[in-house]
């Protein structure tokens, strides 16, 4: 998995210059393309990872969760009760195949509850996607 991510990052570095001149305002859509003179289209993805808030087991969270997505996936969420966070971690493992060792799952939930938890749960059910 990390090898695939590395190859994407490498590609990003290699193409780093390609869009420096194309990121201006409105007129910056892709170069005009007509049949016959097509050129390779490349972009470099900028990084806006945001801050990872401190909390219990933050290193486990960083190691297991942030390989596949940035911390903004958590940062954009409202606060949820623990049951929702348990369900989300389980979904990542069971549905998305996240390589999170079983021993790490409860510590990750603890972190998520610390940064995005609520003590008095609202009237909501755990998501069942």
């Amino acid at each position: 998995m990390s090898r695939q991510i590395c190859s994407w990052m490498l590609l990003a570095v290699v193409t780093a210059v390609a869009f420096a001149q194309q990121s201006g305002p409105r007129s910056s859509s892709a170069p005009k393309q007509t049949a016959g003179d097509a050129q390779v289209q490349q972009i470099t993805l900028p990084k806006y990872p945001g801050e990872v808030p401190p909390g219990p087991n933050v290193d486990v969270y960083k190691k297991d969760c942030l390989t596949c997505h940035s911390s903004r996936y958590v940062a954009m969420q409202p606060r949820f009760p623990k049951a929702v966070w348990q369900s989300e971690v389980k979904k990542m493992v069971d549905a998305y195949g996240a390589p999170i060792p079983e021993a790490d799952q409860a510590p990750i939930v603890e972190y998520l509850v610390a940064v995005k938890g609520v003590e008095a749960p609202p009237a909501t059910s755990p998501p069942a996607k």
Partner: protein, 416 residues
Amino acid sequence: MQTSADKRNPSSTGVDRRRFVSTLLSVGGLAITGRALEWQPDFGWADKAAPDAAAPTLVRYPQKTELILLTDRPPQLETPSRYFLSDLTPNDAFFVRWHLSGIPTSVDPNSFRLEVSGKVSKPLSLSLNDLRSKFEPVSLVAFAQCAGNFRSWFEPRVPGGQWGSGAMGNARWKGARLKDVLDAAGVQAGAVQVGLRGLDVPPSDKTPVYQKSLPIDRARDGEVMIAYEMNEAPLPMLNGYPIRLIVPGWYATYWVKALSSISVLDQPLKTFWMDKAYRIPDNAEANEEPQHLAPATVPITEMVVHSIFVNPKPGEQLRVGQHYELAGVANDGGSGIRQVEVSTDGGQTWNDAKLGTDLGKYSWRTWRSQWAPSAKGTYKLMVRATSNGGQKQATAQWNRSGYQRGVVEQQNVVVA
């Protein structure tokens, strides 16, 4: 109706908190001096004061203008609502939503091929030139919207991409009919679906590849398009260059970006993205209660009728006696918009809004309505649309995944 709409509406949650703060501020300002009439509330400040309602972060990605950042990896970017006052959404302002972090960042249009395989008599490997030259070009304005657009407006809140109103846009697409491509390949008897995937790859080999399927009849209806142009230009990379599927009237989860493979199937596609994700309660309004979840779910497909305010913006303050143009957009799932009605008194009376340009049944429709509030106070604005097919908006709606928002929207506005 009003009561249930209140419960389900953003104005009963964080948005109201912000408005409450701004109301306090403006009242305080007016009490001091007439000069305060020129004072404009700083809603960025008010946003920061509200929990879970931080001021939006604007970012610039390649080929895109400043958009609202939801997530950076994979990228999910919202279109600021001011773009929704125009009939067509510029390519550089069009929203971005990828599922998997391995998104395509380099495409060679000369070597790119679209593979058509499965239950066909002649598998195809089509270049971009093939798509442009061997199939009749067709053009269509179609409205695209993420299934989870407005998710953050549901109450109680649900986990997922916390979209506001910006996971939507309207564009003119040009391309080849999927039907023509399938006909060229020769669909065999017994086909039930087409499976679709693009160039994006999962970050882990255990993560399901992003795949969707369409029923064979939808795939062959002559309207589903393989688009190579968006608003008369190549698609931005982040919107699916070099080609993306356009499924007019259906949520954009089916509009597979960087489309690279079409597989004709004689069995329904088994994939997480159809079987577990993007499913809604099995009823017309995608409605259920948190404590009584619907027993059955189905894949989300056709968009429902919906309308929103673009102006006034949340927290915008209006002046008594001054003419103001209420404005917004309405859409449905493919019959077009017949009527948009606006209420400035919480739904007691309704007035027809003036509809904007009709760009076809799959386009959204802008609307405008003049208003001159005659007294100070807080007004409860509401907007509702009716489709040409007669579909009306729900008055209450919630579901566990925050999909298919179609409830009548309400917006409080302070007139001072």
